[in-house]
């Protein structure tokens, strides 16, 4: 379980939030500038909150007064808005960048099946500027998952896509979540997307959670688990 209880003073307002997430999809929904990306950056360790605590299972990511765990040691996959693929590396090098001791690790990892599932086999030798928006999104997803993270953070992962590709990618995300079984935290400002993807939706405004909504999907998925 990931538990987050943090405060951080931003230019316009103070971010003050508290939530917990299990192996489910948590959606952070709110208008631009409501602190959504800052929350992801705090969880990933790219920025440090002023006070509070971030803990994943028994691993302490951050606690005020104590040393903050650097992003390199948090084991988190982070899909940035607009994907931020390394432009000077081909798709294969992008995906395997975070894998240590390359050859053996790659054959032993879930990467080959990930490449298969995301249908990016034919893109491996191409560079980011040679592929389409939807393909970039799939490559960025593969890259974020290639290190087999314990948590996946997605910052507006589908905002750069057209409607059709967007719908396809939403289904893909749900499918990947079922396979991966780790917490996904998705930032979006599209309410339809939030409702389709989220098991839990946190509505944010000026750094505060103003409403929490649990989707029927939760009952549905736990029902499925019970049946199996």
């Amino acid at each position: 379980m990931l538990s987050v209880k943090i405060r951080k003073q931003l230019t316009q307002f103070q971010l003050d939030i508290q939530f917990e997430v299990n192996q489910e999809i948590l959606v952070l929904f709110g208008p631009s500038g409501s602190g959504k990306t800052t929350i992801l950056n705090c969880i990933s360790g790219l920025i440090t909150p002023d006070t509070g605590q971030i803990q994943f299972n028994d691993q302490l990511f951050f606690q005020d007064g104590l040393r903050s765990l650097p992003p390199q040691e948090r084991h988190i996959g982070y899909l940035f808005q607009d994907y931020a693929l390394f432009p000077h590396m081909n798709v294969y090098k992008n995906i395997t960048y975070g894998i240590k001791a390359k050859k053996k690790a790659i054959s032993d990892s879930r990467l080959p099946s990930l490449i298969q599932v995301l249908k990016i086999n034919h893109l491996l030798s191409k560079y980011p500027h040679q592929i389409s928006g939807g393909e970039k999104q799939r490559v960025a997803l593969a890259r974020a998952l290639a290190t087999e993270p314990s948590i996946l953070l997605l910052d507006e992962p589908l905002s750069a896509l057209d409607q059709q590709t967007r719908l396809e990618c939403q289904d893909e995300l749900l499918r990947l979540h079922q396979i991966w079984e780790i917490p996904f935290i998705i930032v979006t400002h599209d309410i339809h997307e939030a409702k389709k993807l989220g098991d839990v939706i946190l509505f944010l405004e000026k750094g505060k959670i103003i409403q929490e909504e649990r989707s029927e999907k939760i009952g549905h998925s736990s029902l499925i688990k019970r049946i199996h």
Binding site: S44, G45, L46, P70, P71, Q72, E73, R74, H75, I76, G77, Y78, F80, A84, F86, P87, H88, Y97, G98, K100, K126, H129, Q130, I131, R143, T147
Partner: protein
Amino acid sequence: MTQDYSPLFLSLKVAGISTVIVFFTGVFLARLFSRKQFFGKSVIEALITLPLVLPPTVVGFGLLLLFGKNGWIGKWLLEWFQIQVVFSWVGAVIASIVVSFPLMYQSAVAAMESIDHRLEKVAYTMGASKWRTFWTISFPLAWPGLLAGLVLSFARGLGEFGATLMLAGNIPGKTDTIPIAIYFAVEAGNMEKATFWVMIIVALGFSAIMWLNWWNKRSFRYQTRQK
């Protein structure tokens, strides 16, 4: 009359050594300063850039004060390491470093600032150390800008005259770089020798700029290549 080629080799040695030093210190400082705001940063940056706008004689005078036999650093270098800066090729290297450093630093800062910082953050979240991130992400992406700074610094070092003359003087075979050889050849009325060195230095500068332009166009083609 046989031509003495020592000014060419000396110029290449001086410009080469100073460019290597300027490149590494320039990239290091640019990386350090481009992301951080601290008290006195603008003063330090102004000091770094100052040789670009000062007359070479002023730079040379300042270097003489620092590196002369009784200068703060010069005295120390002579006592501890038996290195004499004035009237030696080392003096020419120091003069070259001081005048070419602003060009390298400014190119490196611009190159570092042009990188999408999110790419470095992605690398961190994928477990890459700051060192690995620098060498695999920041450095290759900043390389076109760094290379431009490198070529400009080399060309500037090759053409350095005023400060070099004041610090290193004109000792044939020892401190007479091409620009100094040209000046003293003209003064001695040896126009043939002066013309020869002028043609050499124009050819060197021209080739450096042509190569840089070609390289930039080549990398631009690569960036915009369609699938």
